[in-house]
């Protein structure tokens, strides 16, 4: 079906090729998963499959790509578009028109298809993605998941045999992610397409995947093969490359390191249940108290931030309804919930972007309504989702010094503080670079460093791990953990339940402008009904715990690797398991 031979691709203005000497075959009907850290060339590979490389962007330095025998360099995209379709990451920028129906026919019109044949194609494509009801709706009025469905329908109408999904859920909330995954499962079940997936939420997908290809940071193939074999044999290397791995595989590796014998290496949840279930010992004492020890070491009692009955509406649409929330000093609070639940609106009230009415928000007992914006900025830092939005200078070092200068710090103290922050955040060697030239992970670190320069006590982050690979996300979270240990209270707005499970001390669930839950993550993970109502996906390990808790009730509420490693395992070696 697809035959790539020694392909090397380079973009104009880059020194290094994006793909190097890459050879890969994809069989008809196969589902291929492409893994790699950010910048490893995954998207480049996708673009090379339907001739966008080299016809629209990039240069092929050497090698060939053949799709059903057609050399992509010799044949125009119009011909290849009927063989290979790509779903892109950003649902908003892949539409050419304003209405769903227009979007579906767009490709057909470009091919000059007879209009009489289009009706049947539109109906079929929309039915296949379950969007027939939205045919006449404007594209902008759809949710993220629906947009991706329409984008897929637009491709399906052109009847390509290969569908490439380039991180289709990266910009979606959990509702949208579920919709896209369901669609992938349907496509797989229909067996009409060859699927190439680039994705890092892996646990939900592994049962669909036939083969995994891992790219290294230089755009070469690091390894490829059956998923089980790749994840079992290359655990340590994948971690080093910054490649996401199914969480159950991570757990299996961690257990093996502790000499727990696992006969069949699990890659899906179901396999994990049968692999781990028999290994877990029943605890000698029936645990009635919360299964997992609270993660906060000292009882946090100092109230830092308090929201009392805050309501807010944009025009006639209510965004916040009687929201109350208490944030203790030293917490890591995660605010979760589907898009439109009011998370950002709440955050805007905490930083003065929206002025709370008197008597609604208190910071250390002072009504925010009376705090001038400038002095609030010295106490609360806010990091936006896209770090670029916050850059206001032309050098990294100035970016960090900006707030200090504005606050009138004397030059010597300012220099010392800036140098300290550059070192802490690993940015010292970029001090003179333009912030916009940094990599995504570096930009994110810079935006945190710049915001915290004045020593704010509260740091609010909007989707901090958004669009980052495993290694960058872990590095950032380690950094935040360090800041938290120094006493900085951290509030994270996120969709990422894994982040909640591993780092949050408290989690607040918002839905339709209300706070539906506020408590410890492990308490939340035991509340299936609430999770479903708020459209929150359990992390794979939390789901594993839920499944296992039928046999082992003491696992209820477990959600992280550490939780699982704290268990006693039957087949453990005679030495005591180290914590």
């Amino acid at each position: 079906m697809i035959d790539i031979d020694a392909l090397t691709v380079k973009y104009a203005g880059r020194k290094q090729p994006a793909l190097r000497n890459l050879s890969l075959q994809v069989r008809k009907g196969e589902t291929l998963l492409v893994l790699g850290s950010s910048g490893s060339g995954k998207s480049t590979l996708a673009l090379a499959l339907n001739g966008l490389i080299p016809h629209s962007i990039g240069t092929v330095l050497s090698g060939t790509v053949r799709v059903e025998g057609l050399d992509t360099q010799q044949h125009p995209v119009s011909q290849l578009a009927q063989k290979v379709g790509i779903i892109f990451q950003d649902p908003d920028t892949q539409f050419a028109t304003l209405k769903v129906e227009d979007e579906i026919v767009f490709g057909l019109e470009n091919l000059g298809l007879d209009p009489a044949l289009m009706e049947a194609r539109i109906e079929q494509a929309l039915n296949q993605v379950g969007m027939a009801h939205a045919r006449l709706r404007p594209v902008y009025a759809l949710s993220g998941g629906e947009k991706q469905r329409v984008a897929l329908a637009a491709l399906l109408a052109m009847q390509p045999e290969v569908l490439v999904f380039d991180e289709p859920t990266a910009n979606l909330d959990s509702v949208g992610t579920q919709q896209v995954f369901a669609l992938l499962a349907e496509l797989k079940a229909r067996r009409q397409h060859t699927l190439v997936l680039i994705e890092h939420k892996l646990d939900e997908l592994m049962h669909l995947v036939d083969r995994v290809v891992v790219l290294d940071a230089e755009g070469r193939i690091f390894t490829q093969g059956e998923p089980r074999q790749v994840f079992e044999d290359h655990g340590a290397e994948l971690k080093r490359l910054g490649v996401w791995m199914p969480q159950v595989c991570q757990l299996a590796h961690a257990l093996r390191q502790r000499r727990v014998t696992i006969s069949k290496f699990p890659i899906t949840l179901d396999e994990a249940v049968s692999a781990f279930g028999p290994l877990i010992s029943t605890p000698p004492v029936a645990a009635e108290q919360p299964a997992v020890a609270p993660r906060t070491t000292e009882p946090a009692t100092a109230l830092l931030l308090e929201v009392r009955n805050l309501s807010f509406s944009y025009g006639s649409t209510s965004a916040l309804h009687q929201v109350s929330l208490r944030v203790e000093r030293g917490e890591i609070l995660a605010i979760v919930g589907p898009n439109g639940a009011g998370k950002s609106t709440l955050a805007k009230h905490l930083i003065g972007l929206l002025m709370p009415p008197a008597g609604c928000v208190y910071l250390q007992g002072v009504d925010l309504n009376r705090v001038p914006a400038k002095s609030l900025a010295r106490q609360v830092a806010y990091v936006f989702q896209n770090p670029e939005h916050q850059f206001v200078t032309e050098r990294v070092v100035d970016e960090i010094a900006f707030g200090l200068r504005a606050a009138g710090w004397d030059e010597a103290r300012l220099q010392a503080r800036t140098a300290e922050l550059l070192a802490t955040f690993g940015l010292a060697r970029y001090a003179r670079a333009n912030p916009f030239t940094l990599s995504h992970g570096e930009k994110r670190r810079l935006s945190v460093a710049a915001m915290l320069a004045m020593g704010q006590e509260v740091l609010i982050l909007d989707e901090p791990t958004f669009g980052q690979d495993e290694r960058n996300a872990a590095a950032l979270m380690a950094l935040l953990k360090g800041l938290n240990a120094q006493g900085i209270t951290i509030i994270i707005i996120t969709h990422d339940m894994r982040l909640v499970a591993e780092y949050a001390s408290t989690v607040a669930v918002m839905k339709s402008g209300r706070v539906e839950f506020c408590g410890r993550p492990e308490q939340l993970f035991a509340q299936n009904e609430l999770l479903a109502q708020a459209h929150l996906n359990l992390t794979p390990l939390a789901r594993l715990a839920t499944l296992l808790s039928a046999q082992h009730p003491h696992l209820r509420g477990y959600a992280t690797l550490d939780d699982f490693l704290s268990l006693a395992y039957r087949a453990a070696s005679p030495q005591k398991v180290e914590a």
């Binding site: 637009a154 939005h389 916050q390």
Partner: protein, 272 residues
């Protein structure tokens, strides 16, 4: 994009966008021909009747788009008599005097004519702009008036960018405020602000344009010099009927005004 389009399925909505476009053109020509206050007034009423009757437009909605227009017209009416060249109107009766400012009856009449004409020009664009989907207009331009389709669809894609960039500007503004940027005032401040917004905005715009271009190319956009169309835009009998009807109606208005002796001399593009 945020236009003043009012979604509906009235007779006007169902017309070909080009016939509504032509309608605005005809009325524009007729109004430009006249020099008295009555003709613009008649055309305003004519257009409003068309909108309410054939466009099925709710009065509230009409009022919402009309009041800013009325404000502009009122401004002309108020200020024109004060600043009109005295020599033009000095032979008419003096109405009143405000210090050094003399207001003649002739000045007031000119003001009325000008403000009605401005109002008429704004009003005649409404049947088109209130009932035409911009995508349909571009489609019709491409299919019937041979606008190159790459240009047409490029414009359509650009329409989608406007709200995205608006959101982007709002977010950047908020992000800068949170950083405690309080720019200098005056010209220097404006320059600084422009520079601060320009880089992130450009970075986003270029990235988004690139992505959209790739997604469009990936679906064979621009592959052939001709493309087919699912929705064929053409002039239906209703369009001919409507276009001729509007022409006839406009002529009738002029003739009627002439008969009543209200029509001034006809002169194209003469303001006074």
């Amino acid at each position: 994009m945020n236009t003043i389009y009012y979604e509906g399925s009235s007779f006007l909505h169902r017309l070909n966008p080009l016939s509504k476009f032509l309608l605005s053109g005809f009325l524009f020509a007729f109004i430009m021909l006249t020099t008295d206050p009555w003709a613009p007034l008649a055309f305003i009423l004519f257009t409003l009747v068309l909108l309410l009757w054939l466009g099925n437009l709710p009065l509230r909605r009409l009022a919402k788009v009309l009041w800013p227009m009325l404000l502009i017209a009122a401004a002309f009416l108020l200020f024109y008599p004060l600043f009109v060249r005295q020599s033009l109107v000095a032979n008419t009766p003096l109405l009143f005097q405000l210090g050094p400012l003399l207001v003649f009856q002739g000045g007031l009449e000119y003001g009325l004519t000008i403000s009605l004409r401005v109002l008429a020009l704004l009003t005649i664009s409404l049947p088109f702009s209130l009932t035409t989907d911009s995508a349909d207009f571009i489609r019709a331009l491409v299919q019937q008036w041979r606008l190159p389709y790459r240009l047409g669809y490029g414009t359509l894609a650009a329409f989608r960018f406007v709200p995205m960039l608006q959101t982007e500007i709002a977010v950047i503004g908020a992000a800068h405020r949170v950083r405690g940027v309080n720019g200098a005032h005056g010209l220097r401040g404006a320059y600084e602000r422009l520079r601060r917004y320009a880089v992130p905005l450009l970075a986003t715009a270029i990235r988004q344009a690139e992505r959209t271009a790739l997604a469009m190319d990936g679906r064979a956009f621009g592959a052939f010099s001709q493309r087919s169309y699912y929705r064929r835009m053409r002039f239906s009998p209703a369009d001919w009927f409507f276009t001729l009807g509007v022409l006839a109606g406009s002529a009738l208005i002029l003739v009627g005004l002439q008969a009543l002796g209200l029509l001034g001399p006809l002169a194209f593009l003469q303001i006074l």
